[in-house]
Each structure stands twice: as structure tokens, then as C-alpha cells.
């Protein structure tokens, strides 16, 4: 396990407003960090800073020991792959063309993708089991398929770190689980993953680490330490019962049961 991302005493925010202060955590290769927390506490601010969309206001962020500060857009894209929430672009690109756009950061200023770049894109689609989508029109495939295409695009960047923005939002149950399995598989292959989510369960299913953000602070730790009945009540104002089941192979599966009033 190599430490990929190291965040030290980072301060993040918009303009003069600091939303998150003095946050520190590591994400190693093979780890998935889940960013949990209610709307407006700074999940988006944190990962936008990580992606370089917002300037870091204090502290440091390094990937493989290299400070992110002063990186060009291109350098960011070569190291950090971003998987946004799937949306509909205005033009009917084919899925393969969308995946190929992941190569942009590795191309010269005036270059267009070569056959080698196409091969890398095809490889990423194969890895995710979506080769059959290559010639489909991106605007016409389902939300789950589109999310997979975006993950393939991020992999085509050959990043060390993957940053995912609510990868399961707008997906049906089956597609959510398929996407989460992919996230786990990608982490196992050596990537570091940071993902935001609104579902505390995801922390148990995917998370090696959890950053639970709440107004004015945060907790960071293993899922078991961080996602507790107390902390969820405190952060979301909802009564939750944590449950667990022993599976046939001895592993323990955990989940949250919200107690609706």
C-alpha cells in the first residue's frame, strides 16, 4: 500500500469564505475514501479543491509526494481522474468518442488521439465490461451505462487517483450495486478512490475510510469508527439502527436501517 493522496491541514472554500478548515487525511492505493455529510457542509468544496477547480486556501495536498499547488490543468488530469455525475451533453457523441476524451491530457497541444490512444480507450471499456456500448450514442444509453462510460473515460486518463461525485445518484438499485462493485475492483487494482455519497451504507460496502463532514467540523476514520448511530443522528438528525449479518463465508455485512417516525 502506497500513500497516494496526502491532505495536511487543508483549508478549502470559495472566495473569502472558508468552508472546511484543517482537514488531514491519507488515501493509499487500494483505498476508497467515502465523503459523507449533509448538503452544504463542503463535500463538493473539498473535492473541487482536490481537482484544482478551487484554489487551496491553506495546508497542503500531495499526490505521491508531489504538491498539487501550481499544477497545470494537464498535470492534474494526468494524475487525477474525475468521474462527474452523468448528465446529457448537447451533442450525440458515440460512447467510444467520450471515453477517448480521457486521453486529452496525454496529447500534445495541437494533437488528436492516435491509434494507441484508441487502444487505451478500448481497453478501459473492456475492463469495465462495456465494450458493447462503444458505437452506441452516449445521449441515448441509460444512466447506469453513462456512468460506466464516464468511469471508463477517467480510467483512460491513466490516473493514480479517482475522484467520483456521487457515482450512484440517479441510478436504479441494480446499477448502483454494479457501479459500487466496479469502484471496489478499481481500488483493488491499485487506484486510490475518493467518492462523495449520500448513502451511509456505501461507507460499509466500499469505504476503507470515511470522512464524515458536519457543519463546523469532520470525523475521519474507518467506517466502523465513524459511521455510528450517534454520529448519524448528530449529522443528519435521523435515528438510525446499525445492523449486521454474518454471511455463509464468515464475512460480516453491515447496513443502516433508518427509523422513520
Amino acid at each position: 500500500m502506497v500513500t497516494r493522496l496526502a491532505v495536511r491541514d487543508a483549508a478549502c472554500g470559495y472566495g473569502s469564505r472558508t468552508v472546511i478548515d484543517a482537514i488531514s487525511f491519507d488515501v493509499s492505493s487500494g483505498e476508497v475514501l467515502c465523503l459523507l455529510g449533509p448538503n452544504g457542509v463542503g463535500k463538493t468544496t473539498l473535492f473541487k479543491t482536490l481537482l484544482g477547480f478551487l484554489p487551496l486556501k491553506g495546508g497542503s495536498m500531495t499526490v505521491d509526494g508531489e504538491d498539487l499547488r501550481g499544477w497545470s490543468r494537464k498535470r492534474f488530469a494526468q494524475v487525477i481522474g474525475y468521474v462527474p455525475q452523468a448528465h446529457t451533453p448537447p451533442f450525440p457523441f458515440r460512447a467510444e468518442q467520450v471515453v477517448l476524451m480521457g486521453r486529452t491530457a496525454h496529447l500534445g497541444t495541437f494533437a488528436t488521439p492516435s491509434a494507441a490512444d484508441v487502444a487505451i480507450a478500448e481497453e478501459a471499456m473492456e475492463l469495465l465490461g462495456i465494450s458493447h456500448l462503444a458505437d452506441r450514442v452516449y445521449t441515448e444509453i441509460s444512466g447506469g451505462e453513462r456512468q460506466m462510460v464516464l468511469i471508463a473515460r477517467a480510467l483512460t486518463q491513466r490516473p493514480k487517483l479517482l475522484v467520483m461525485d456521487e457515482p450512484t445518484s440517479n441510478l436504479d438499485f441494480g446499477n448502483q450495486m454494479r457501479v459500487l462493485s466496479r469502484v471496489n475492483a478499481l481500488a483493488e487494482s491499485g487506484l486510490g478512490v475518493v467518492m462523495t455519497t449520500h448513502v451511509p451504507d456505501h461507507a460499509f460496502w466500499c469505504g476503507s475510510k470515511v470522512a464524515l463532514l458536519r457543519p463546523g467540523g469532520f470525523d475521519i476514520g474507518t467506517p466502523l469508527e465513524t459511521v455510528t448511530e450517534d454520529s448519524l443522528r448528530q449529522v443528519y438528525g435521523v435515528e438510525v439502527k446499525l445492523t449486521q449479518t454474518q454471511l455463509a463465508d464468515g464475512r460480516i455485512a453491515r447496513g443502516c436501517v433508518p427509523l422513520l417516525t
Binding site: K48, L51, G52, F53, S72, R73, K74, F76, A77, Q78, I80, G81, Y82, P84, P89, P90, F91, P92, F93, R94, Q97, M101, G102, T104, A105, H106, L107, T109, F110, A111, T112, P113, S131, H132, A134, D135, S142, G143, G144, E145, R146, R153, Q157, N170, L171, D172, G174, N175
Partner: protein
Amino acid sequence: MSADTLTRDPAVEATPRPARPRRAVPILAILAVLPVVALLASFTLGRYAIPLPDLFTVFFGHLLGWPQTWPSATEMVVFNVRLPRIGIALLVGAALATSGTAYQGIFKNPMVSPDILGAAAGAGFGAAMAILMDFSTVGIELSAFVGGLIAVGITYALGNSIGRGSNAVLVLVLTGMVVQAMFSAFISITKFVADPNNKLPEITFWLMGGLSSVSNNEFFVLIAPFLVGVVPMFLLRWKLNVLSFGEEEAQALGVNTRTIRLIFIVCATLLTSSSIAVAGMIGWVGLIIPHLARLLVGPDARVLLPASLLIGAGYLVIVDDIARTAFPTEVPLGILTAIIGAPFFMFLLVKGRDAW
């Protein structure tokens, strides 16, 4: 978004992969023939008919210094009337179609065009002012460029500060309409103050759009801004694909969006305004040609940009042929492109979103 959340039937996914649409390159080769054929045909057409063999004789004879066996009138018509006119029609058609394609990519909207963003009205105002003040051809071009750039700048800045999220595109188009209306009013002011004996008819006639009074001088003046506008766009065209996914995604994919977008806007505006300075207001080309090209070769700018350029060039040459030969008196080109363009655009709308 209920359709989005449906899981695909595995049986559907297992169907064999369709044959790859690798037809883009052959289509491009066919499209490249279009302007050439249009060009040759256009030289022969007109009140002074020149059969194709005569055309070649005169053309090569003149260039290679053969002893003159042809009437001087033919040589005059070929080199001083038809060559500049057809050359300018090619350049203007290519420029408007290419800039339309670029605007649509940058603004992530297949409905924008040089007219809609206010570039045309801004450039028109700049050119009208220059005509009013007796500027040279180069002066008119510069003035049109500055006017166009100011108009697009206002549209973009206003649209950006008002529009947020999903309605950003709608706001952009609406601010474009406002800016266009404003600059149209400015054009009216220049007409109002213009001398009704010479300047007013000049501005009015020029606004209708047409190539009836062009000379070789304008042709050479147009080539420089055309190349300065087109070459960077062609070199950066892959990034246009990435830009159409929006600000943050393009940045995350490694594109310096601010610089690249600025280059595209300046180049596209330069193309639009230099065309307008020479040929007047020629609408619809920048909207329908990119659509037509996208219909043929798909949205990938690597192929779309050259396809738009070729179709636009051939299209305007043909329409200009109609303008100068179809009726006893010449019809202003801008009127014809609108008469052809508007119904064609209606057809595209009816045909539905798939066609974009």
C-alpha cells in the same frame, strides 16, 4: 429521468456489436469534391457564358503566358469578375459555417450561431460605422471585428452572470437576442444619420448581403483573417469536443478552458466579422451548415469542422450562382440564404433532436 434508471435487458446487450461507423473519412473525401465542382460550374455560369474548355484555355493561358487566342472580354470576366466573386463566396461560406460549428461547440448548444450570439449584428454595426466614416476595406474589416467581439463579449458576460446551471444555455440565447436587438438599433442609427444620397443606399444594400460589387482587392483582404481564424481552430479542434462537455469536465480532462475558449471565440468572431465586412449580412449559413454536417459525419470536431468548412464553401458558391443567374436582376445573397435556410431549419426541428 425514468428511462435513465431502467436497466438494460441483458439479452439486448448481448446482441452483436454493430458495424463500426467508420464512414466519416470517405464522406469527407466526397465533400471535398463539392466546392471544386461548384467552383468550376460557377465560372461557366452567368450572363456572359464561358464554356468549360474556354475557361481552361483562358485560365492556364493567362497564367502561363500563352499567346492570346481568346477575347479580352472573357479574360476580364474570368479574372476580374468571377474569380473574386467565387473566391469570396467560397471563403465566406467556409468562414460562416466553421465559426457556427465552433460557437455551437464552445457554448454547448446546437442552437447558437453567429447571428444568435449577436456577433453578426455587432460586426454589422462596426462595418456600418466604418462605411459611414469612409474607411478603407481593411478599416471596415477591423471595425467589424471589434464590433463583433464586443457584441459576443457582452452576450457571454451577461449570460454567464445571469444564467446558472441548467438554464445557462437559455439565458445565453436570450441575452444574445437582447444584444442583437441593441446592435440592430445602433445599425438603424447609422442609417438614420447617413447621407440619403450616397451613404444610406450603400449601407442598406450592403446589409442585405451580397457579392455583386466585390473585386480582387476584397478577396485578398479576406484571405488573411480567414487563415488567422481557421488555422488555430483546426489545430485545436479535438479540444472543441472536450469543451462541449462543460467547464469543469473539460478542466478535469486537462483542458485549460479559459484560454482555449477565448481562442475559439476570437477566431470564430474574426471569421464572422471579416465575412460580414466584405459580404454584408448573410444569415443562416452558420446555423444550418453545421447541422447538416453533423447529420452527415456526427459531432466529432475532428471530422465535423472540415466537413462544415467544405459544405459551407460549396453551399455559398451555389447559392450565389442562383443569386446572380436565376432572375433577370440579381437578388441579394442574404435574402436567398434566409429563404433557403429558414425552411431547412424548420425541417431539422421537425425531424427532431436525433438529427442534432
